[in-house]
């Protein structure tokens, strides 16, 4: 893979003495991956600016607005963290599955099912209204995880047993989950014909920072809720699972080389199903956390595509559970600020460009471009 930087003259007298040489890297220097990722985001933002400019917007104002509206003061940063909370959980969900090369792009549907599960236990009165907050939240969490896990089990089982491509099935299940939730919201528990149920009892709400405003007045109005703690704990747990547990070792082995895993006696069928369930459960927790921490009832359109953003977050974090947290905060800010930006597609457009830049830039990790003296080789 060499390409001359300039066409050599046929007579050989005047010759550009350098050539660009693209070589495979055997080893990437430390920190290069981070630098390349940051560079990719930078270039993506520039490209996004260009597109905004072309369609007649003012990109710098838009970006300035995003920065202020997401990180400008404690209040908005708290809102950013609220947006980051479900992103952390779905980002982890995607990371776990992708680590085993299972393309779970159904985190969106699993998120909805988690929300549905945690709402059902309240709406059906399975948890009495008088129940204490820890019990209520515990049951909701469990129900959310179970529903999410079930929604991951279906494509996992189909993939493991019948070799059905999980990309399409998880995606189809997103549409099905959303229609399913809509059925319950409109057809079963609609509050006066609106697209939402009645508000849940306080015991079903996650504690918020503002709940502590009596002791610390500075926290007044801050919406960050307990789900964030859950997300951070989950990222530590997933890290430990992947890098310090026997099961995590099996996941990494299957992800890198399924044949070798089989050869090492790893049960791939069982692991496929289990990993999809864990992934679904994490996304389900995200749905539960959104119900308990933000909307406090079941309603339609609870996710502006968190499940899909989770894919980008997982990729940007290089599937590292710890890195998922800061990346989610960044994207939380983008989504928060993006709500106010017109036209509505901008955040999605920028996410798309970022993902493109990211995967395109990975070539820099695998190859290095060197300028070499042609003469020196003779």
């Amino acid at each position: 893979m060499t390409m001359p930087a300039a066409a050599p003259r046929p007579n050989g007298r005047l010759r550009w003495p350098f050539a660009l040489r693209i070589e495979a890297r055997l080893d990437a220097p430390r920190g290069l991956a981070t630098a390349v990722s940051l560079g990719a985001i930078g270039v993506a933002l520039l490209l996004g600016a260009l597109i905004l400019r072309v369609v007649g917007g003012d990109p710098w104002r838009a970006y300035g607005h995003i920065a202020r509206a997401a990180f400008g003061d404690v209040g908005v940063f708290s809102d950013t963290l609220v947006k980051a909370t479900p992103l952390i959980l779905v980002g982890l969900a995607c990371s776990v599955a992708f680590r085993m090369k299972l393309w779970n792009i159904g985190a969106e549907g699993q998120f909805y099912m988690g929300a549905l599960g945690s709402s059902i236990v309240i709406l059906t009165g399975l948890v009495p209204e008088a129940a204490s907050r820890p019990v209520t939240l515990g049951v909701m969490l469990l129900a959310g995880m179970l529903f999410g896990a079930f929604w991951g089990l279906i494509p996992g089982w189909l993939r493991a047993r019948l070799q059905v491509n999980e990309i399409i099935t998880t995606l189809m299940l997103n549409y099905i989950a959303i229609a399913f939730v809509n059925f319950f919201v409109f057809g079963v528990w609609s509050e006066g014909g609106f697209q939402m149920t009645a508000t849940f009892q306080r015991a079903a709400w996650f504690p918020r920072l503002s709940d502590l405003a009596d002791q610390w007045p500075g926290l007044r109005g801050l919406t960050t809720h307990f789900g964030l703690v859950l997300g951070v704990i989950a990222s530590a747990v997933v890290w430990f699972l992947l890098y310090r547990s026997r099961w995590g070792y099996e996941i990494r082995l299957v992800g890198d080389n399924p044949k070798a895993a089989e050869y090492a006696g790893v049960n791939i069928t069982r692991n496929t199903i289990l990993v999809m369930m864990v992934s679904g459960a994490l996304a389900g927790v995200a749905g539960m956390s959104e119900i308990s921490g933000v909307v406090h009832r079941l309603q339609t359109s609870i996710s502006p595509g968190y499940g899909f953003t989770g894919i980008i977050i997982a990729w940007l974090a290089k599937l590292n559970p710890i890195m998922v947290v800061p990346v989610s905060v960044l994207f939380g800010g983008l989504i928060l600020a993006g709500r106010e930006i017109q036209p509505a597609g901008v955040p999605r457009l920028i996410q798309g460009i970022i993902l493109f830049m990211l995967i395109a830039s990975e070539v820099l990790l695998r190859y290095r471009v060197r300028l070499v003296r042609v003469a020196a080789e003779r």
Partner: protein, 322 residues
């Protein structure tokens, strides 16, 4: 609930899936999985509607739709063929980009365009054939007839031409194809591009003919993904793709029609009395896609058929064995 009406409508709306599915078949036959069909279709639908609305010419609309979607496909080609990025992730990125871009560019477009912006044609003589005539040759958009021609043409291209042979070779064994002097990258670019053109055509067909207008994401409502599922069901064969597409079209129409009558097969129609059950009907195309995938993969296993062997793998020349 007239079967002729349902099948007629099935052929019409199935044409959208047909274009997208055949486009994806061509891309995948060359070894490139392009999951960005939904994004490409949406950009096609948006640009076709927007151009037609301002020029009044559906032909220009379709052309721009195809070129716009083709551009996106080339981007996928660049990233996966040249930069060897993961095809799955790149396809997802393309979906985001296509959807985002069409929402941004389609902002403020006049939403509804009640009538078809492309000519509607009844073929003389053969439309008089009983059953088949009214289903296939009566009062259809020209795009439906384009679909009829496309299916055998693509089959012929794949199996009976030198270019088709090259295409199949590149998708099965790019190393061998390269060694025999085929330009693997070029062939992949061309077919990924053509796949994009057809996805754009599919999108344009929606917004100009099948359900005219621009309804943001709901314009395609996941049909791009269904098309990818159909490719597996079709086992990369255009005729099976046609079968699957038209069947899906008919299913969509059935779902719409089933909520109309008060009785269904002499029984009380639950969908009439409880409109909320309609949400379950909405799930059907997606549930059927899963079903079709299961059938497709079972058949592939039984007949030892399968995807093009090199599907999803970047081709790097001169990689040394050991």
């Amino acid at each position: 609930m007239d079967p002729i009406v349902i099948l007629h409508a099935g052929v019409a709306s199935g044409t959208v899936l047909l274009f997208a599915t055949i486009g994806e078949i061509l891309a995948e036959r060359s070894g490139v999985l392009n999951l960005g069909v939904e994004g490409m279709m949406l950009i096609g639908a948006m640009s076709a509607f927007s151009v037609t609305a301002s020029t009044g010419n559906g032909g220009w609309g379709l052309l721009v739709a195809m070129l716009a979607a083709g551009m996106l496909a080339l981007l996928h080609g660049l990233v996966t063929i040249h930069l060897q990025a993961d095809q799955v992730v790149s396809g997802l990125a393309l979906t985001f980009l296509g959807v985002g871009l069409s929402l941004v560019l389609g902002e403020g477009l006049n939403k509804a365009g009640a009538i078809s912006l492309l000519p509607v044609v009844t073929i003389p003589l053969i439309s008089a054939i009983p059953v088949l005539g009214p289903i296939f040759f009566t009062h259809h958009s020209v795009m439906v007839y384009v679909g009829y021609l496309l299916v055998p043409a693509v089959w012929f291209y794949i199996h009976r031409t030198r270019q088709g042979l090259d295409l199949r070779a590149v998708g099965e064994n790019p190393t061998a194809a390269d060694a025999m002097g085929l330009n693997v990258q070029w062939l992949r670019y061309v077919h990924v591009w053509v796949g994009g053109l057809l996805a754009g055509l599919a999108g344009g067909t929606i917004s100009l003919a099948i359900s005219p207008g621009w309804f943001s994401e709901l314009t395609t409502s996941g049909q791009g993904w269904i098309a990818i599922g159909l490719v597996i069901f079709a086992q990369w064969d255009p005729f099976r793709a046609a079968l699957g597409s038209y069947a899906f079209g008919a299913l969509r129409r059935t779902i719409l029609d089933i909520q109309g009558p008060q009785t269904l097969f002499t029984l009380r129609n639950p969908f009439f009395y409880n409109p909320y059950l309609g949400f379950f009907l909405q799930m059907l195309p997606y549930a059927f896609t899963i079903g079709v995938l299961i059938l497709g993969s079972r058949a592939a296993q039984r007949r030892h058929l399968g995807a093009p062997a090199a599907l999803g793998l970047p081709y790097v020349r001169g990689e040394r064995g050991h």
